[in-house]
């Protein structure tokens, strides 16, 4: 079985400083998002069960991917393809999906494409579904449990209020929620071995993509501003008799939907 895992490098959200509501992204270390790592972990678990499975890590991004991809290789991807060409810069979700789709086609036969349900920075949740559309594959999103038997794929989707169990045949595209697993830490042996795994770099031209299809030029979306959400605290204080205060508090929390859902 051939599995392709799509990963995106994002700024480490825990190390971003906010100034005047604007996130300062310069200098923040780049990491793979939690859900992307869960997608990779799931691929490696499938590989461990099904002998002969090959996992390819596919990532589009800047020059730091060259070092960053080693983490994916250490965790268990067999090889990697990096899309690091300047024309890719500034791609919106459609451009990204186009580039990934072309790369996956170029890779050849594939049975399963795994993505995170969204990237932890912009969280549009669109790349996976668009990619499935472009590749003409069945897509299953928000997956919290995944089982593969022969050619059949069974997945449990998290619909927030309920779970949905669906089945499809391979090939398919799955986007995972981070609850699907706890990604492993790579051992030192695997980290050192990763340096010897094959990594290819493909340009837009390699994929036959023109500048109008990807990158800033090919983007239908313009980012006008990027602001951290402001969290206004309600600052409600209940005073008085303890029993009464407790009841008021419970009522208020129920009204807010925090309790009694």
């Amino acid at each position: 079985m051939n599995i392709v895992v799509c990963l995106k490098q994002i700024p480490d959200l825990q190390q971003i400083r906010i100034k005047d509501r604007r996130p300062l992204l310069e200098g923040a270390p780049l990491i793979f998002g939690d859900m992307d790592k869960s997608a990779l972990e799931e691929a490696v678990r499938i590989k461990e069960k099904a002998k002969g499975t090959k996992v390819t890590a596919l990532a589009m991004g800047g020059a730091k991917l060259k070092d960053g991809i080693k983490e994916a290789l250490a965790i268990g991807a067999d090889e990697a393809v990096l899309l690091m060409d300047p024309p890719f810069a500034g791609s919106d979700t459609m451009g990204t999906a186009r580039a990934l789709a072309k790369a996956i086609e170029k890779l050849g036969e594939h049975d399963l494409i795994l993505c995170g349900e969204g990237s932890t920075d912009n969280y549009s949740g669109q790349v996976g579904p668009r990619l499935a559309e472009l590749l003409d594959l069945p897509q299953i999103t928000y997956v919290r449990e995944l089982e593969i038997e022969g050619n059949k794929l069974k997945a449990v989707r998290n619909m927030e209020e309920s779970f949905e169990v669906v089945e499809t045949e391979l090939p398919a595209l799955v986007t995972v929620a981070d609850e699907i697993n706890q990604p492993r830490l790579a051992s030192l042996r695997d980290i050192l071995k990763a340096a010897r795994k094959p990594v290819q770099e493909w340009t837009a031209a390699d994929l036959g993509l023109s500048e109008d299809e990807v990158g800033a030029k090919g983007s239908a979306i313009e980012t006008v501003s990027n602001l951290a959400p402001e969290q206004e605290r309600k600052q409600v204080v209940f005073k008085g008799d303890l029993d009464e205060v407790t009841e008021n508090l419970i009522n208020a929390l129920t009204k807010e939907g925090v309790l009694g859902r």
């Binding site: 060259k66 070092d67 250490a74 830490l185 030192l188 042996r189 980290i191």
Partner: protein, 410 residues
Amino acid sequence: MEFRLTAEQELWKNTVREFAERELEPIARKIDEEWERIPDEIIRKMADLGIFGVTIPEEYGGMAMPGEEMQYAVITIHELARGELSMSLPVYTLLCIGWPLLLVPYGTKEAKEEILPKVASGEWFLGINTTEPGGGSDLANIVTVGRSDGDKWIVNGEKAYISGVREATERGGGHLTLFKTDPTKGYKGTTFAYFPADAPGTTYTTYRDMGRMGLSTGGFVYKNVEIPKKYILGEENKGFYVNMEGFNVARALVSAACLGGAEKCLEISREYTKQRVLFGRPLVNFEAISFEIADDYAQLELLKLMLQKGAWMIDQFYQDRSSFTKEEINRTISICKAHAPMLAVEIAKHGMMYHGASGYTKDTPLEMALRGFMSYVVGAEGGYHIQKIIIARDYIGEEAVPYRGTQKAH
């Protein structure tokens, strides 16, 4: 000149940091206070990650990156200490990964094949055993003695303040031990060899320490203990040099533990003083506080850089012994060992003061860290003053060497 970690070192650092945050931070207090030991489960997880194999070559069951062993070891201990501020687990680990660096070049093949795979797998503990009740600073005058008897020594004597006496006895493993094989001579009559903790005739006692309660400190008593000569490191009566060379490795890792712990304490203080509001502003807005944090941070960064250089020098040395003289390495490492524990104690103390009364409680890990750091100020792996003697000896010269006295200990 290159000041950056390699991509692999960076990845390893992040891996150990995440492990420490996930697995160690939540249990550090329990290790120190409740269990007074490091759980087997944690040691197994560390071994799975490869932590105990960072300095051990692949042929002996480890996964060392040849030529970068010390750099990886320093990264490992620094990150573990950030997560386990009692210092018990970092010290347990630094002993286990430090001393193999000496066993590899100086041990016999037979001994290495027996010991190293068990250390790399986390099964065995490996420690250092030099100090005696008569004094740890003055190792030329130790009195534990081994009488040569064919292919073994018959050992009698006593060691004191040894880390991991219980761990080696209960888990398996032992200690690299300095002892006299020619009692008529000073340091030129000493030999350095591995002593299995379960060698018949060996008994141990433990002390009640001030800190790092998850790792035992105790004494060994040897009564006619037979130690096979295959366990020797280097040559008979030349053990002192091997032991001293090993102290550079150990002292570098001790410094890493102190700097990693101090770094975490400083971050705790930075976050707390940003949030604590007094006199209508954040506590850190007072320069008495922010300047002190800035100074502590500067000292920390200076020492981290010095240690990075020291670790790199040791790695160069084991690749090519003409790359640096021992004196150059001694000096660099002693600067780290003299100042890292002192700085760590200061940073923990300052943090306790910023926290006010809560800093004096067990609600923060600062007091636990301070107790742990103190072990390296008072002694372990050579006290503060001894480091100064080394720096002075090498920088000033013979005139500054005080240890040529003739008075006998009583």
